[in-house]
Amino acid sequence: MKFGIVINEGPYQHQASDTAYLFCKAALEKGHEIFRVFFYHDGVNNASRLTEPPQDDRNIVARWSKLAEEHKLDLVVCVAAALRRGIKDENLAPGFRISGLGQLVEAGIQADRMVTFGD
């Protein structure tokens, strides 16, 4: 089955990104496909390469990049939300790309299920 994922909250402030990550990992382990992960609202902050958590904490951004690399995930950051919050190509972590809201709608059309994680 093809899943589309929406993440509306940034890392560390809210559990949404953690839950979404563990959901994606479990779905992939079960042989499902993640069609796209769309980062919206403060969720765009999950894509900041400049994030430096303490070493004894999980690295949420790096974890997404790694999962994307291993499974060829499409991590899309909403351009309108990103520009509002200072996320640009220059500070984008590996595996993420910036694109329009149409990518969210398209995920809704293409995926069998859409799951939203947020506050």
């Binding site: 351009v79 309108a80 520009l83 329009g100 809201l101 149409g102």
Partner: protein, 111 residues
């Protein structure tokens, strides 16, 4: 921050030349931006630009091209309600170019 000089007054713009403060707009500023864009403003051009400003005043957004086309057709006649007509007036697109001349914000959320 960039700026443009029109009639001895300075207007702030963003890097792409969109007016920063929408309230500062006046027809001279529109004409100036049009010249920069190499658009020769005719009555037909002003019709669209003025329509965009009225639309923005009323709804606080610049309309999507599809919505603009339909609305123009309804208001000014079917022969004007098609994207060919609008692209002939504004070769770089009614959303980008006409909005810029009208002093409206850059259309975001591009598909």
């Amino acid at each position: 921050m960039a700026s443009i000089e029109v009639g001895g007054k300075s207007y702030e713009t963003d890097e792409e030349g969109y007016l920063v403060n929408l309230a500062e707009w006046n027809p001279d500023v529109g004409n100036y931006i049009a010249k920069e864009e190499k658009v020769d403003m005719t009555d037909n051009h002003w019709e669209v630009v003025n329509f965009l400003r009225e639309y923005y005043d009323e709804y606080q957004i610049a309309p999507a091209v599809r919505v603009l086309t339909k609305a123009i057709g309804k208001k000014f006649g079917a022969e004007k309600g098609n994207s060919q007509y609008l692209y002939d007036l504004f070769p770089y697109g009614p959303a980008k170019q006409a909005c810029k001349i009208a002093g409206l914000p850059k259309p975001t959320g591009c598909v």
